[in-house]
Point group: C2
Chain length 205, copies 2
Amino acid sequence: MKAEKIPDIIVGRLPIYLRALQRMADNGLKTTSSQELGERVGISAAQIRKDISQFGDFGKQGTGYSIEYLLNKLREILKVDRVWDVVLVGAGDMGHALVNYQGFKNRGFRIAAIFDADKNKVGRKVGEFVIEDAENLVEKVKALDVKVAMLTIPATAAQAVAEKLVQAGVKAILNYAPISLNVPDHVKVQYIDPSTHLQRMTYYL
Amino acid sequence: MKAEKIPDIIVGRLPIYLRALQRMADNGLKTTSSQELGERVGISAAQIRKDISQFGDFGKQGTGYSIEYLLNKLREILKVDRVWDVVLVGAGDMGHALVNYQGFKNRGFRIAAIFDADKNKVGRKVGEFVIEDAENLVEKVKALDVKVAMLTIPATAAQAVAEKLVQAGVKAILNYAPISLNVPDHVKVQYIDPSTHLQRMTYYL
DNA sequence: CCTGACTTGTGTATAATGGCACAAAATGTC
DNA sequence: GACATTTTGTGCCATTATACACAAGTCAGG
């Protein structure tokens, strides 16, 4: 184990391992090997061993890894051994879908509030939440001390809202708006844009 | 220009450039430079020049790139100078959100059909589409000659459906199900899993 | 036409990433 | 207890990706 700086590319693979391990645990499996895990996620066994060994000696020679133990370690490393409050900005179709999505439970996240700039939407309910006015975004997010946000708004509004989120102390933004965001280095952004993802594949067709 | 094999990592950046250029064109801009584009998308100017130069000499020294020209070249390279039919499997909340999403237009994609395994949903309408029975998936997809699919179904069903899509000739799958898919090498998969994306960022919090 | 400010495309250096192979440890069998 | 099998963690090396730097081309202004 080396507690040095971990490359982003390795951090990016950990959630993939975590997801597969969670699934194995749900299926009642107790142990696994780098080879088996690798076949499941499509990554070489050597790569997986190297990635995991960056954080400690979690495996046992001849036996492999205890799924439960590795799960807990990965959750700890990724800091999802707790539940993060997430604010959602944008109560359109995608916002609704995310509110109803059951996949945040048990994976470390919980939606804490929903905002929209459209006055006609403010006050309405989405699931169990009342849509709040985006004008109060900074103030409310600060009060809730939320560090994670999801952006499901048009591209035209995204940069301005991102800046408000940063101002409110948000450190991680999952951006569904089809535009690159400019944020300070200490703020992380991940992008989800179906057209962009599809275009990455059409090259090979 | 070198018509060699282009690394996947470069292909992955092209849609980002394309998106930014499209936005610039919409704003009435005529030319740009690798530096300006780089600032917009958060990638170094040198990187952008090198990426683009893999496909040809599209820029002009002293002037930069014609946005319109570069747009057309990138569309051509990514094969989105045409419109791809896409099948959507899974008529849940996420499926509905994607049907209503306006961001496929003008970016090379059009939903052609929707399938679901739930007999209660089959026959109902989503937007302008009638939900079709997933039992007929292979047959219908073959008949439509569709090469691109989006999967918005539970993880438990994803692998089986992916295999049916491959059997039907699909070559690109955008997978919203939270599970890694095993498909032949000639089939491309892109993953969209909000929890995974969020977990990639919580590491740094 | 000359000069200065820009900007591309690329050769080269540097850094990061991934693959291979193996010693060492754990387990099970006879 | 000896031996065959399995599997980890890691050192080494090849490959890949990024950063740097600059010659050469372009353009506007006087």
